[in-house]
């Protein structure tokens, strides 16, 4: 009989009271307490950012030092070398030449400004400008061996069809579409208005995509949009899941090791976003002991991690587990899980536009450019996009800015307008 006591205890009548009573008291407080943190993010997010770690990038450089020694940057760069080889050689050559190269480069830089002027209006393609391009390349390289002007490493514009474009055009029937990786969460950049009954994406980036599709396939709507999380942009390109990524993607040196970029189509800089009532004043000491949110694989995340390591920001700044999309940071901010968000000013403004209680804090602390990212060897496509951008800057860019961004970034577009593009070389 005794052995059965517990069973009797379970009987409905007996059991009900204690069970109910237990629930709140029993309090799995500690367990639940850490749940929101747990559930928030795959913690690993930060590192695997498509393996574009510094190690990866250094290797080719180191190797090319020996090779490059016999090939000065100014020498006739073989056509087949492609952008990569050229960059490596240029870089290597630079190291070999040292200070002399730097001086020569400064001269070349000055020369380049003169030579660049005609390009701002119209790109002539090959020929004489080709040599000028090399001069520019040497100039940018020389300006800083550690690559500070990644936006200037793009081939000259050209309307010629190459193998990549031919392959896109060869798609038939329903598949005759440009496959583009975009964002569907960036307000006024690439997003779906929840009040639209249709599912079409819209925004500044999307306008550009339609323009590119119009030019390549003759139909602005011949596009297959794929939503890509921030850290999937480079793998998606490398694995050929998309032809290109138009998704507020900053042209950076690290990314150049994995993908090719078009000329810049937008200028922005990292900025801090925080509640209006917050004590945070900008990207400075006021961030100490604050929890900061960034997106996985974003330049903001890289910058924060680097700066923290280098001691440029307080070591007490807590970098929260990165989220898949910058907009998820706004969610975390509103839920009080983080104190501030660091992202591109253009996107931060989009976030602020969705919540009147937050604002941008301080001036942009970096200068960055958005570019269209493509496969590294798709030089023909890159040159084609550069050509389209030349025309787009002349007509289309301003209209799109006015339509989508003037509300969040101000009607004055000058601080967002990309600089006159500089190209690497012709081939």
């Amino acid at each position: 009989m005794n052995r059965r006591e517990p069973v009797n205890g379970r009987e409905p009548v007996n059991g009900r009271e204690p069970v109910n009573g237990r629930l709140p008291v029993n309090g799995r407080e500690p367990v639940n307490g850490r749940l929101p943190v747990n559930g928030r993010e795959p913690v690993n997010g930060r590192l695997p950012v498509n393996g574009r770690g510094s190690v990866n990038r250094r290797l080719p450089v180191g190797r090319s030092v020996s090779v490059g020694g016999r090939e000065p940057a100014e020498g006739g760069v073989p056509v087949e070398g492609g952008v990569t080889m050229r960059v490596r050689r240029v870089r290597a050559g630079l190291k070999g030449w040292g200070g002399v190269g730097a001086m020569a480069a400064l001269c070349a830089l000055a020369l380049s400004f003169v030579l660049l002027l005609p390009w701002t209006t119209r790109s002539p393609g090959d020929g004489s400008t080709g040599r000028a391009g090399q001069g520019v390349a040497a100039g940018t390289q020389a300006a800083d061996a550690d690559c500070t002007d990644p936006e200037k490493r793009t081939p000259t514009p050209s309307s010629a069809d190459g193998p990549t474009i031919a392959a896109i055009k060869a798609r038939t029937g329903e598949k005759r579409k440009l496959i583009v990786g975009v964002d569907q969460n960036s307000y006024r950049w690439g997003y779906r208005d929840p009040n639209n009954t249709g599912a079409e994406l819209e925004g500044f980036d999307i306008d550009l995509v339609h323009r590119i599709a119009q030019d390549i396939l003759g139909d602005p709507n011949a596009v297959q949009f794929k939503a890509i999380p921030t850290n999937q942009r480079i793998p998606a390109i490398q694995e050929g899941r998309v032809d290109m990524v138009v998704r507020t993607m900053t042209i950076s040196c690290t990314r150049l090791a994995d993908v090719a970029f078009s000329a810049p189509y937008f200028k922005t800089g990292q900025q801090v976003l925080a509640p209006k009532s917050s004590t945070i004043k900008g990207y400075d000491d006021t961030l100490a002991k604050k929890k900061v949110c960034t997106a996985t694989g974003s330049t903001a995340n890289t910058k924060l991690v680097d700066d923290k390591k280098a001691g440029k920001i307080a070591s007490s700044v807590v970098i929260a587990a990165p989220v898949p999309n910058q907009l998820d940071c706004l969610v975390r901010l509103q839920l009080g899980e983080v104190d501030a968000v660091v992202t591109d000013g253009a996107l931060a403004a989009s976030q602020a536009a969705q919540d009147p209680t937050v604002e941008l804090k301080g001036a942009p602390f970096t200068t960055e450019y958005y570019g269209v990212a493509m496969k590294k060897n798709a030089t023909d496509l890159v040159r084609r996009v550069n050509q389209i951008l030349v025309e787009y800057r002349a007509s289309g860019w301003q209209a799109s800015y006015d339509k989508w961004l003037s509300a969040t970034l101000g009607s004055d577009a000058t601080k967002s307008k990309p600089p006159a593009p500089q190209y690497l070389s012709t081939s």
Binding site: M1, R3, R4, V7, N8, R10, P12, G15, V19, N20, R22, L23, N26, R28, V31, N32, L35, P36, N38, G39, R40, G173, E174, K175, K177, I179, Q184, N185, S186, Y187, Y191, R192, D193, P194, N195, N196, T197, G198, A199, E200, V223, Q224, F225, K226, A227, I228, P229, Q232, E239, R241, P324, N325, L327, D328, L330, V331, Q334, Q351, Q354, D355
Partner: protein, 463 residues
Amino acid sequence: MANPAPGSTVAPLAPASAPPPTRRTAFAEGVDRARAAATTEPGRLRIIGAFLALLVLAFGAVTAWQTTDRAAAADDVLHKSQPLSTAAADIYRALADANTAASSGFLAGGQETAESRSRYEEDIDEAASKLVTAANNADPDSPSTAFITKLNKLLPEYKGLVERARTYNRQGFPVGGAYLRYANQKMQGEMLPAAQDLYTKENQRLQDDYGDATPYPWAAIGLGVLALAGLAWAQHRNYRRTNRVLNHGLVAATATTTVVLLWLVVGHSVARAGLDDSYDHGVRSLNVLHDARIASLKARGNENLTLVARGAETVKVAADGEEVTLDKYDHEFTTEITTLGKGLTLAAKLADDQAGEKPVASAENNMAEWKKRHTAARAQDDNGNYEQALALVIGGKDATGACFDNVDQNLADALAHEQTEFRQAAGDGLGAMTGLPIGAAVLAVLGAAGAVVGIGRRLSEYR
């Protein structure tokens, strides 16, 4: 009680063998007296009477104890663990369905329809009320209680996120979608796993209760046989010594013991058969159907997410020795729909009557149609025709959503049917044990009294 009595009364008869004059321990003296008593017929009779009464009482007590145990476990099966296992499955279903309704609303764009809103609200209500059912039936400190507590805490959090998403959607801000994603993450990453764990735990408990309810009460049966053998021996001895055939007391004791033993064996066999039947034709089917329903819900959820994510997430899968990159959610859809197919096949095999087979067969047809439509929708999406794909998934009655609803409805019908079968069989089983513990106790007391009276009659002849 019986031992010292013979000692005191029989002692004067004993001095035939004179005790040694040395001092002895009380125990040794007691043993001696008992041995002395055992040498006389009244002494023997007293011992036999006491032994028989004890044996019959022990038989009754053990029977009452063991059958109470089994009846309680059977009662738990019927009234606690099985309803709780169903409640846990319902919680899972309601949560997953609410999440799917919320994501469908987002997919549809514009403001959500009245149907999708009410479906979501009903699901949340059901989850909340089933959580109360589960809490009422769970033991405090059991792992189930921990899961229920967790779900109780997460449900309002989840709902809060969805409400925020709605508010932002109304204002046309994409951050609403971000909230929905966050809510979905909470659901997929924390709530559904907790609900699944709860379901697994409750199912385990159900198995345990079956394990407690069905074994034969061997101890009681053994004691019953022993008691009958003892009574038979005593009557045989009686007959040999007195040539009297019937001793009323002993016959009564034999009769009651036989009745209890028969009742025990037959009652338990019937109960066991009922419970086994409720397991084979109820619980097994219910488990398979619940699993199938969960698989269909997961498949539907993943189908929606494929479109919500728009190719954002991929997985690498090894196929034919090659690594292929697939859409994560579509891959999961394929996995779940395969599980659903297997579940339905098994359910059809387990269904043992027309009423049980029909809904399962219908669900199989719905699923075949679903797969067909899904393939068409994927083809559209792969060709970049997102709008068309969307229409094929969340559109009207020609969309995959309708197939899912039909599968779900048919599975619900099949579950209701199996639940009835279970209740009937388990109820029959439990009914067979009704009164057995008390009956056994009462009859055993009567039997023991009979044995004492019967022996007493013989004993009185010595006075």
